[in-house]
Amino acid sequence: MRKKLVVIGAGMASGRMLEHLTEAQPDAWEITLFNAEPRGNYNRIMLSPVLAGEQTYEGIITHDDDWYGARGITCRFGEHVVKIDCERKVVEGQNGPVPYDKLVIATGSAPFIIPVPGKDLPGVITYRDLDDTNAMIEAADKGGKAVVIGGGLLGLEGAAGLAGRGMDVTVLHLMGHLMERQLDEAAGYLLRRDLEARGITIKTQASTKAILGAGRAEAVLLESGEVLEADLVVMSVGIRPETRLATDAGLTVARGIEVNAQMQTSDPDIYAVGECIEFDGNLFGLVAPLYDQAKALARSLMDEADAFVVKDTATKLKVTGCDLFSAGDFADVPGREDIVFRDPARGIYKRLVIEGDRLVGAVMYGDTADGAWFHGLIKDGTEIEELRETLIFGPAYQGGATADPLSAVAALPPEAEICGCNGICKGTIVSAIEGGATDLGAVRAKTKASASCGTCTGLVEQLLQVTLGDAFEAPTAQPICGCTDLSHEDVRRLIMTKGLKCQDAVWQELGWATRNGCHVCRPAVNFYLLATWPMEYQDDPQSRFVNERKHANIQKDGTFSVVPRMWGGITNPAELRAIADAADKYNVPTVKVTGGQRIDLLGVEGEDLPAIWADLNKAGLVSGHAYSKGLRTVKTCVGTDHCRFGTQDSTGLGIKLEKILWGSWTPHKVKLAVSGCPRNCAEATCKDVGIVCVDSGYQVGIGGAAGMDLKETERLVDVATEQEAIDVTVAFVQLYRENAKYLDRPYKWLAKVGLDWIRTRVVDDLAERARLIAAFEVSQSIYRKDPWAEHAQTRADSYAPLADLTLEAAE
């Protein structure tokens, strides 16, 4: 008598199992196959090419009616199984029961739906089966806007397909970079760049709050408050093993249906295979391991010994033109080592992770031809000690070629502007060099390039090097740090001219030697990006020194100081009371008047910061940024309000300047002072910008210092009106932001570029002055706000310890 086999789910895993089983034992089984979808087994992974219009459904069918017919398989397609009765060994379909001797559960998984309002609206779909694919094709035919939630493999394939069909597509991704499970940031950046190049908008760190619409989906609302119009919303945020039948039947289910290496569940007559299972703590989302499971299962059913083992799987993305590959394991194990190769010109990135003398992981973008070879080395655990030096170049390594550190410069087109001050482009400089200008001085003399502010000096030197080859003496420009050969000036300029708008773009395009910089270069790069692209780039707190990340100065014992702003040094009884109350409430050990005309609460516990800030906020007190590379204080004297010598309202001007400039990030800290007369009680002549009021108006000085160096300000200009004094100050600060090297105070930068260079731009050229002021305002539209209020309201949790494990010990 033939044994009765019932299979629930006609997907890729059970399909493969049936192939093995019916081939080896064509007559041993009487098989009933249920499938909730109204069709048999097709190659689900090819749905993306179907969506993209590169395939048809007919072309991806694995088993057609003839196939099932030839094997005598009873197909109950379009019928859900609703119950498994393990006692009676009967499976109940919607259209009636079937008894079994052996049962296989192969129900796959279900897309995870994020529980936001509007998730059930028509127009919101998932991406799992042919019906979803057809719904997407139908929606795309009508055109309009699509929002894809989830920047993983499925979401991106869906997005590319929809974009290819002419929809205006935005991908929302919760994490910092795309496909973060498979790719590192560098590869994620390149992928993003390629997808953006085909018109797809990508928003990372975007969290969906709700789907809006009356009757059907019309828009997606983000946590940030942003609203994106959407005619179609595709949810593709992950999958959950489909375990409901197993759970109801009382089988052991963790995240998936638990099976042993023979694919047997906790009931010996019931087996499970595919994405619905959990084996040894692992879940599965790619077909390669499912095929191994299918084989192991077929052999178990035939009473032959076999055991499924988890092997490493590799991922590729099926989007034509986006070549990526990822395999192996990047997880935390002591003693691992990275080999990174980047070719910015060709958009190639490769990273190998080595442990001991084995390759354990590989990520590649742009050139994935060697993927299979690396994957083989990983799976086989091949010893790579011998190959180590040349491993990254792959099996076809021919000898030698390493990345050229100058390739970024070499790759610039001839019309690329090198010297912004004098408008000199690369072609002009190269022809000068070829015409005999073989050192920096000669290039300067002949073309004027790098003869003004000097920030392009490094670039000109590199052009000399590229053009002259060995004939050029190595430049002396200091690289930022060991992560790069480029100087600060080079990096700044390249960020601008190459349009680099995120850190990963900088690491990749400028050939950084480390994965994400170090404590020296990363804060600098973060500042350059933020100053160059205030609207596009999002400030990265993790690239800031602790003081700027926590908006408080760290003390030697790990506590913090809290300095609220006192605009122009003016305060009032209510503020002072709030400060006194806060000092009491949070046991502040030291309350000190600072050298910057305000009050410092020293020794506050890190965990108390959000609370003390919230209390101070209630009295109208905001952050004094005593910790930032940004505007610190504007010291003032009492001026005309009270002083018998005062010539102008120095206090009022100081307050106005502080209100305009506060919150801005600058290369180093910036301190101002306004004195009401040349007696200079506010010490304005040793500040970064110091204004001394006189009868005829305002003397604006810049580049003073009273720290490690002592410097008197240099007179920039004398102006008649308060407004002009403000304009010149703001324009100067913006010029400093745009040009100075990170951690150069204004006086150091002034010494490099010269007073005349600054004066031309800030004083003489009124159009440039207006541009500088406008650019500053654009940036301030984002940064002129109180970080304390923001953190106290939205990030207070992050100031507390993640867990306290001491409590129980104390009990």
């Binding site: 994490m175 910092g176 973060e180 590192d184 940031e185 995240r255 703590g281 990047f330 997880a331 935390d332 002591p334 003693g335 691992r336 990275d338 480390t514 994965r515 994400n516 910089g517 170090c518 404590h519 990363r522 804060p523 707190p541 993790q542 690239s543 800031r544 020194f545 602790v546 990340r549 926590k550 760290i554 030697k556 014992d557 790990g558 992050s798 310890p801 993640l802 867990a803 306290d804 494990l805 001491t806 409590l807 129980e808 010990a809």
Partner: protein, 109 residues
């Protein structure tokens, strides 16, 4: 080993750190750009700087007080004679698990 569930991986910012309090003092948990986690004593051997406040780069952290750089794998300070203790920690289903035995106690509070 007893694995204690400390929190969700997203509770630690990418390229960032959080600390936990334990009977042995504070322990800093780091999350690298690659979503790896590491746990080391939150006290710099130089002058006691809180490493959880440092900048995380690659698999290293820089002490916020005087810029010693520590390899999070080994706890060794780069080019200095000093190291911090490391603790076994791993990620499972996005939860951060730390070895309670190594922390000298058995159960999560």
């Amino acid at each position: 080993m007893t694995w204690l569930d400390i929190g969700h991986i997203d509770d630690i910012p990418l390229r960032g750190a959080r600390k936990i309090k334990t009977a042995l003092g504070c322990v800093a948990l780091f999350r690298t750009a690659q979503d790896e986690v590491f746990a080391v004593t939150d006290r710099c051997p130089h002058k006691g700087g809180p490493l959880s406040e440092g900048i995380v780069h690659g698999r290293s952290v820089t002490c916020p007080l005087h810029n010693w750089v520590f390899d999070l794998n080994t706890g060794q300070a780069q080019g200095e004679d000093g190291r911090v203790a490391t603790y076994p920690v791993r990620i499972e289903a996005d939860r951060i698990l730390i070895d309670g035995t190594a922390l000298g106690k058995r159960n999560a509070a």
